[in-house]
Symmetry: C2
Subunit: 228 residues, 2 copies
């Protein structure tokens, strides 16, 4: 058998002018993502339950990042990244249904439990955090992405490249294309389409394995997809 030529992912839509909201933007993952996107020239509104805390985190990041309460951040953005803790994910999204209507929502939440043996996958009733978001936000275009990033590397200004692929999941092709293009803006990062939302659980849960890798190898592990 021969290996077919790999298809180079197309650049996708132009996302440079999109305003990106980051809910839970004061946590390490949200703040790190906001920093990387802002550093790549994206217009960012960082959201938090407390507008004051969001404004403080935004001021810390600089790069034109604004801070607001979650509802304002959602309202003022074209595309909204959900980086809130799993504990609170459902109620937060439910309360923002109107603000998120018609928008691309990117869920990057990893439902995990922790005990003395480390991290393990939690199983949301809907199948995954992303499917829960889709169930709660019927008028939004829900995707899942940005699960496997090290918050430490994202936030470290001395790290120039984030050498990681971003698996992008969703049932709306144009929405996943937009999210892929957004990931592509961060140096070193590639957005790769990796299936429908029904296959989000294992992508979310794989963070438990990366935590094991990090412990064993003292690493900030990420993933690359080969042959793409």
């Amino acid at each position: 058998m021969t290996t077919p030529e790999a298809v180079t992912p197309d650049p996708g839509p132009d996302v440079a002018e999109l305003t990106v909201g980051v809910l839970g933007g004061t946590g390490p993952q949200g703040k790190g993502l906001a920093y990387r996107l802002a550093r790549s020239g994206q217009r960012i509104v960082l959201g938090s339950r407390s507008a004051e805390r969001a404004e403080a985190a935004a001021a810390e990041l600089g790069l034109g990042v604004r801070g607001a309460d979650n509802a304002t951040a959602a309202r003022e953005s074209d595309l909204v990244i959900v980086a809130v803790p799993w504990d609170g994910h459902g109620p937060t999204l439910e309360s923002l249904r109107a603000e998120l209507a018609g928008k691309i929502v990117v869920d990057c939440v990893n439902p995990l439990g922790f005990d003395k043996q480390g991290a393990y996958a939690l199983r949301p009733e809907e199948g995954s955090a992303a499917q829960q978001a889709a169930a709660l936000l019927p008028d939004s275009r829900v995707t899942a992405a940005f699960h496997h990033l090290s918050a430490v590397l994202l936030q470290d200004p001395e790290v120039e490249q984030i050498d990681t692929d971003v698996m992008v999941l969703g049932d709306d092709r144009a929405a996943t294309d937009t999210v892929r293009a957004l990931a592509d803006r961060i140096p070193g990062m590639r957005g790769i389409y990796a299936g429908r939302l029904r296959n989000a659980h294992q992508v979310e849960s794989l963070v438990a394995n990366l935590i094991s890798v990090n412990r064993r190898y003292k690493a900030h592990a990420g993933l690359r997809i080969t042959d793409v």
Copy 2:
């Protein structure tokens, strides 16, 4: 924050003299793995329900590979890779409990369903195929590995390197070290410890996402873990 130095995985135990059995060795994944290991100098017994089919597949592979029925392959091997179809996984292992006692068992089975939208994860009652194996084989040292390999690439003699990391899971440190060392023998491949068996489900299921990647990008996708 600074990035700690990555720890180079140690070479692990010497596995060159181990005889490796491959149950389900006439299927594409098992046959491909048997081929790669034999090509790296490993002594292989390829197992199948039918000794005749196993012998035919072994003869096709050459490289000193022998064929036998699954029970004989298990009995004559030091370490046994389970590459049987998910449908039949439980009964096959249950029937080989005596032959597999005391041995390292490497489960590489991916429980997947397929419909017109593609592949999706099945959820074994025990949590994962590997946990089912551990439940059925209390006297064996059950690990999970070799899930994300392209059978096409494994079987293609013109492919010199398999540029993929192998996530190795298990609760027995010495057993996972041995399996990692086995993966390391295949050029391009690295065995990386990636957690306990309770975190095997997402590793097994991720094959559904790689199938989506393959469809979209016409690739034979594999994974690399970065920063290790």
